[in-house]
């Protein structure tokens, strides 16, 4: 694993802002969890608590017009790219103000206006899409890169391998970022994969450079993504980053995650991405009061978001029959 770089482009002020962003995501996920328990969120949720540094660090290193594709565990990516906690929570709560008008739900948060081109609930399906967006960016000459975030479980599905191969052959400006939280749903990834690093160890067979990084250190993530994006933009093709991390909740709402050894959980909780950021902030001379203020501001944002989502009108039933086609309608026959 790459050690934290001695020199990073991330200074104290920016790091404090990133910390606050992570705190907002952490509190929004907690709110989603509580709203679920209160019966106000139906279906399921796949909370990203513990994964915040990957979304926030990557986003800090990307251009605003770059493209991001995420998975059904994608709340953090939607928010890191600019979706508001209020519109995300409203989506989970089936409200008209939801970011997808309550037609997507927790697993499909999308903020296209911010280049966040979707959360996909079929494992691995979006890796070729990210390659396609990168192909499009290259053909249009925009200098944009595309990023696919995916779990460790996706590395054993065909679309992962098809996407890596064609992205390498066409030297596409795409980043494949694996959020390796050690478990494909309930099963340890190591017990179903023959190599130690499920994404990074496969990359060389496609001729793609790869790096295993600490996914809980926002600075490490930002630096690695910055290097990979620069490489992609300069025409040198894709990079695989495998960011090791850990879920604070189970796989989905109904999973208590009892299959994870207690000692492992304790060890990873000691490596909480927010705590790691605080350690770095302290080392940079940022006073504890500033961190406390950031926490306070984050709490305020999420409290207001919950209130706004609760107060929002329910989804309009008429919306059920709109937006199948580009003309806004759903007519399929005369």
């Amino acid at each position: 694993m790459t050690a934290p770089g001695a020199v990073s482009a991330i200074g104290a002020d920016e790091l404090l802002a990133l910390y606050q962003q992570m705190a907002v995501i952490r509190r929004t996920e907690k709110a989603a969890h509580d709203l679920f328990l209160a019966g106000l969120v139906k279906g399921t949720t796949h909370l990203a608590s513990g994964h915040e540094a990957i979304a926030v660090g990557a986003s800090a290193a990307l251009r605003p017009d770059d493209y991001v594709f995420a998975t059904y565990r994608g709340h953090h990516h939607a928010m890191a790219r600019g979706a508001s906690p209020a519109e995300c929570l409203a989506e989970l709560m089936s409200k008209a103000t939801g970011v997808c008008h309550a037609k997507g739900g927790s697993m499909h948060l999308t903020k296209a206006s911010a280049g966040m081109l979707g959360s996909y609930a079929i494992v691995g399906a979006h890796l070729p899409m990210a390659a396609g967006a990168a192909w499009s960016a290259r053909l249009r000459g925009t200098g944009q890169v595309a990023v696919a975030f995916f779990g460790d479980g996706a590395t054993n599905i065909g679309a992962f391998h098809e996407a890596l191969n064609i992205a390498a052959v066409w030297a596409l400006p795409v980043l494949f970022i694996c959020e390796n939280n050690l478990y494909m749903e309930y099963t340890p990834i190591g017990s179903v994969t023959a190599v130690a690093n499920p994404a990074a160890d496969r990359a060389p067979s496609y001729g793609i450079p790869a790096e295993v990084i600490d996914g809980n250190d926002v600075v490490v993530v930002a630096d690695a993504v910055g290097r990979a994006a620069e490489r992609a933009r300069s025409g040198h093709g894709p990079t695989v980053l495998e960011a090791r991390t850990y879920r604070h909740f189970g796989h989905s709402r109904t999973d208590p995650a009892t299959y994870r050894p207690e000692e492992e959980v304790r060890e990873w909780m000691r490596r909480d991405p927010l705590d790691i950021a605080i350690t770095r902030l302290t080392a940079l001379g940022v006073p504890a009061e500033s961190v406390a203020l950031a926490d306070e501001l984050a709490a305020q944002v999420v409290t207001e978001a919950v209130a706004a989502a609760r107060a929002a009108p329910a989804a309009d039933p008429a919306e059920a029959l709109t937006d199948v086609w580009a003309d806004g309608g759903s007519a399929w026959r005369t």
Binding site: Y67, F69, G98, V99, C100, H101, A102, K103, G104, H108, T110, K111, A112, S113, L117, G118, Y120, I122, A125, H126, L127, P128, M129, A130, A131, G132, A133, A134, W135, S136, A137, L139, R140, A146, G158, A159, E162, A163, N165, I166, V169, W170, E319, T322, D323, V324, W325, A326, D327, G328, S330, A331, W332, R333, T334
Partner: protein, 326 residues
């Protein structure tokens, strides 16, 4: 007299016209570049438009459709080729879960203007995994427009409409029609999606066909005319949008309906057409609706066996006669 071209040449011609007029149109697929496609339906395109517009892919159907989708969401109009429609099963996630749902799931934030072209249908002895008519597979998925032309001019006109459409379109090219000839289409020819054609006017019975079953129905109608039976042939051209106004109008004139479809009877598109006519046109009918569809078995290899399974002119004639006796 207008120039005559083959259905195969019409595919390349239709695509070339759009490539010339819109820089955002790009092609990807297996062997479509210098090789011109295994059915030669992209012949000449690589020479004219080069490697920045025409992209050869690995044998990676998921990557082909996934990349087309990502490109369509970000400003291009990709035309993806899946060599045989049977291979839709290799990339079904994109046709069933991704491409048709993205616009809806995001509350209209994203459009997916792409075309998936594919060689469809039987009659050429390719066996069970390279001969299927699978237009009914795609008909089960809301969010896909479905095109299946029967003539070279329609190939050109519908290709223009498909590529210009802001919605995802599945474009079925029938393998059995590639060598057939017809008039080409004038410059600027566009056939709007969802407009059926009356391929032959008649008074006694309506025969509804799609792609290869249209010329089959026309041949049957010609033979039936010798016996004094006047059959009207409706070429659906598209399954979505489905032009039921034209079908119901025709049934209103003839009071009898035979549907000729190459996909299996079980789950075939004719069941949808028949159910709408039964629901909304029941009082127009003087006889039951007959469906001539493929038998519900995998497609066999030998010609003699395949002809037993898929629709034929004889089967259409038999079905029509069974209704006119009513």
């Amino acid at each position: 007299m207008a120039d005559v071209i083959t259905y195969r040449e019409a595919v390349a011609e239709g695509i070339a016209r759009e490539l010339r007029s819109d820089r955002s149109v790009v092609l990807l697929g297996e062997d479509i570049g210098a090789a011109g496609g295994v059915f030669k339906t992209t012949a000449g395109l690589f020479a004219e438009f080069g490697p920045e517009r025409i992209w050869d892919t690995p044998i990676s159907e998921q990557a082909i459709l996934g990349m087309a989708m990502g490109a369509a969401m970000t400003g291009l109009r990709p035309v993806a080729e899946i060599m045989f429609s049977d291979f839709f099963a290799c990339c079904w996630d994109y046709l069933a879960n991704e491409i048709p749902k993205m616009r809806y799931m995001t509350g209209g934030q994203v459009t997916v203007p792409l075309v998936v072209r594919t060689a469809n249908g039987g009659g050429l002895g390719f066996g069970a995994q390279h001969s299927q008519a699978v237009e009914n597979w795609t008909l089960t998925i809301p969010g896909l427009k479905i095109v299946a032309p029967s003539t070279p001019a329609d190939v050109i006109g519908l290709m223009a409409a498909a590529i210009r459409s802001d919605d995802p379109v599945v474009f079925f090219e029938h393998k059995g029609l590639f060598a057939t000839k017809g008039e080409t289409a004038p410059d600027g020819h566009v056939v709007p999606l969802g407009q059926a054609a009356i391929a032959r006017a008649g008074a006694d019975v309506t025969i509804v066909g799609l792609a290869a079953t249209v010329p089959m129905a026309l041949t049957a109608a010609g033979r039936l005319a010798e016996d004094g039976i006047s059959a009207e042939v409706v070429d659906l051209r598209c399954l979505v949008p489905l032009d039921m106004r034209t079908v119901l109008g025709s049934v209103g004139r003839t009071s009898r309906l035979v549907i000729v479809e190459e996909n299996p009877y079980q789950g075939g598109w004719g069941g949808t057409v028949a159910s709408i006519v039964a629901d909304e046109g029941f009082e127009l009918l003087d006889a039951p609706i007959r469906r001539v569809a493929a038998a519900c078995v995998p497609l066999p290899f030998a010609d003699a066996l395949e002809q037993q399974v898929i629709p034929t002119v004889e089967k259409v004639i038999t079905a029509v006669r069974s209704l006119t006796e009513y």
